[in-house]
Amino acid sequence: MAASTDTLERESKLQGLGSSRLRKEDARFIRGRGTYVDDIKLPGMLFGAMVRSPYAHARIKSIDKSKALAVPGVVAVLTADDLKPVKLHWMPTLGGDVQAVLADKKVCFQMQEVAMVIAGDRYSAADGAELVEVDYEELPAIVDPHKSMTPDAPIIREDIADKDNVGHGPRTHPNHIFTWEAGDKAGVDATFAGAEVTVREEILNPRVHPCPLETCGCVASFDKPTGQLTVYLTSQAPHLVRTVVAMLSGIPESKIRIVGGDIGGGFGNKVPVYPGYVVAIVASIVTGVPIKWIESRIDNISTTGFARDYHGVGELAADKDGRIKALRFTALADHGAFNSHVSATKLPAGLFSICTGSYAIPKAYARVDAVYTNKAPGGVAYRCSLRVTEAVYLIERMIDVLAQKLGLDKAEIRRRNFVKAEQFPYTTALGWTLDSGNYHGALDKVLKAVDYDGLRKEQAEKRARGELMGIGISTFTEIVGAGPTKVCDILGIGLFDSCDIRVNPTGSAIARLGTMSQGQGHATTYAQIIATELGLSSDEIQIEEGDTDKAPYGAGTWGSRSTPVGGAAAAMAARKIRAKAQKIAAHLLEVGEGDLEWEVDRFKVKGNPSQAKTMKDIAMAAHTSNLPDGMEKGLDATEYYDPPNMTFPFGAYVCVVDIDRHTGEPKVRRFYALDDCGTRINPMIIEGQIHGGLTEAFAVAFGQAIPFDENGNHLGNSLMDYFLPTAVETPHWETDHTVTPSPHHPIGAKGVAESPHVGGIPCFSNAVVDAFAHLGVTHMDMPHTSYRVWQQCKALGLNER
């Protein structure tokens, strides 16, 4: 029976799942009334300015604070020696290593934190920082990770030189961090030895930076009389930060409050705990007044949270029809001077093992060797789950390389290797169980939409005229929603997430979650999930996150985990409430629970629909004496959701690029992105996330890189040099979707924000390489700047008139 008009009207009024509801968070932002960390002003607050190393590798012989202390307004200058008595000069990292909070006897990367000047305002703090005199003895620096493990390489980390293990297995050199491997090496070797065709390519994911528009910072406020520490902090994971601060400081976790506030973009940059935060906290404990520390943009790009720097080698073995028989991917990972790589404890190379992609590859082997260099520490996931961009980039590039070797069409080779819709759930050779997918359907829809055959025809005509046109395809599978606590923990804490819902007597509700929005629109979308589950209007459901005194514990927002884990927690908490509500409704209507059925916003008696109780009726009843015997008052529930599996969003993208052979300028003419993120909560927000992710992918593919000279000096760490696309360069995006729900997620949703970044980067690269494919080019490393593409044109003699 079709739903009645009345039912549909009630449903649309809820603005629940599937509604392009306008965002609740906009009201403050469009008025300039957001509360970002630098907007926080507390009475008596002082400012901290960091003194940083000009050298990439040097011993600190002495530090003279006297001139800085003489500057009017300067209150203190803190160095490692000042933090030593409280044992806070070193801190644990999220990668299982330790990191110097302030340089202890030596510096290991340029711009490393050496001292913090505390003063009454930013100007005097900056004046003081200029006048701290540090005497350095320069040491030879390692910049190229391929030189880290040579016998005569200088030892970067003398503090751990004797350790044969820094948390992830045996080390073979003082500059070696770990070696991680997965898969059937012997089986893969045997398949390669007997293969009809093999391909191999060296593929770099260069060092880049997420560069959110707001840099990192904090205001630390320690109240001596109560021993309470409050820290306003740019964190994507406030609860994890609270735990780290408790471990570090010895302050009981119950007396630490971390407040996320509004965050001006994160993209992975705001997951780790940085030295600046720790020094500000110590400075507040020492001085007894609040301390603000805010990064400059140059500090941000130079020191906090770089991404990638994976020097990969991809190899595929296949039959002559292009069916892949085995995959062997390895990477040399440059983790910088401290292993503060953000990873789950048991996954030191993150989720790199998703590198089999969307393809049914019978045998696979992956290996990552991580080394120290004299560069900033990090290894954050820039708008992706841990090391997923690196993995997906390798497979999506290599399948093109294989197609070219065999003279096969790049769409056709994908079709021949896809996991088929009927094979899901499909367990890959490296052990992930892909939850659901329809890869053939997605690719076919996109090829039709862009008239792929027509594009190839046009390309052939252009090639005949000597013009360069490339068509890039990417058919990626992401892995998000970390994750099952059996597999995923950080510092021993499982990566579950949480939601606590309280329904008020008048039928409005407040929900608090362990995640942390940085622009994703959680206040809007979580309310939609709960609205549909509870039959209450999303406009009357308030969402709060980011204040650890209010929200239940959770691992935060990164790795597209908010919808897969936090969203699931919201749905499950709401279902607990609905189960209780059903009992109350049965009591009020004097029927059995089994006699009731749920319809949009009410329980009604089967066969007698006029007999019904709305959720609003029930909310009031839950606060009265008229409840079933022995039932607790109230209508609240909390859920700590431990996902049974990761989720696997996927997509099919096509990019068309025209390249000027005289200038090398690549111009993206068309980009068509089909994403399947399972159940769609808010299409407007999904589309916005895809636009943003594609733009960040465009930035990485066409311009971003953090270069160094041979001494470890930064060659581009301001927005003068580091490429952030403007509205002029950014292409127009066309979006599309299919819906293949996740079978294990309560509402079938998979997460979306990172897919366009992960899938976009190889699509752009594939398009650029495809423009040169007829000339025998199989790979070009990013970034595809005009100059670098021009060099390719020149090498092929194409630039001549």
């Binding site: 300039g32 970002y36 528009l213 509004d262 916005g688 943003g692 733009t695 927005l719 509205a727």
Partner: protein, 161 residues
């Protein structure tokens, strides 16, 4: 430390007086002394536009303007857009067209778009992209910002008609 100087200007229609060092940047005066935290600091090198304010009828990046340069000037910041409880068409349009995500660039974007529409009330997409190129956004990919500006242009034209 150089002698402080008194500076007077009009901020969102109200007269203000401040006493600042000659080196003090306008963004710091606005944010630290005058509690106008709508304009943000994103780069400190005039690239990102998060600190954009309208100064005597021109968009300027207040991270590279000295406060002492603003004597007798008239200034508009995001805090001055809502009038008598009514949002400006640009504020409404950024909301309605999903032209913002984290919100950090939004005050600068709206302030810049205000000057664009003053000078060119009916801009093409290409003109909007060109005029807004001094304001960076890391979240939206600009597509919905362009739509928001076009939408606001229509609203303003309808209101003027």
């Amino acid at each position: 430390m150089a002698t402080k100087q008194a500076v007077s200007f009009k901020l969102n229609g109200k007269a203000v007086d401040v006493v600042v060092e000659p080196r003090e940047l306008l963004i710091h005066t606005l944010r630290e002394r005058l509690q106008h935290t709508g304009p943000h600091i994103g780069c400190e090198t005039t690239h990102c536009g998060a600190c954009t304010v309208d100064l005597d009828g021109m968009s300027v990046k207040s991270c590279t303007v000295l406060t002492v340069q603003c004597q007798d000037s008239e200034m508009l910041t995001i805090e001055g857009f809502e009038q008598g409880g009514a949002l400006h068409a640009l504020q409404e349009s950024f909301h309605e067209q999903h032209g913002l995500q984290c919100g950090f660039c939004t005050p600068g974007m709206i302030t810049r778009a205000y000057r664009l529409l003053k000078e060119n009330p009916n801009p093409s997409e290409e003109e909007i992209r060109y005029w807004m190129a001094g304001n960076l956004c890391r979240c939206t990919g600009y597509q919905n910002i362009v739509k928001a500006v076009q939408h606001a242009a229509k609203k303003l034209a309808a209101a003027a008609a």
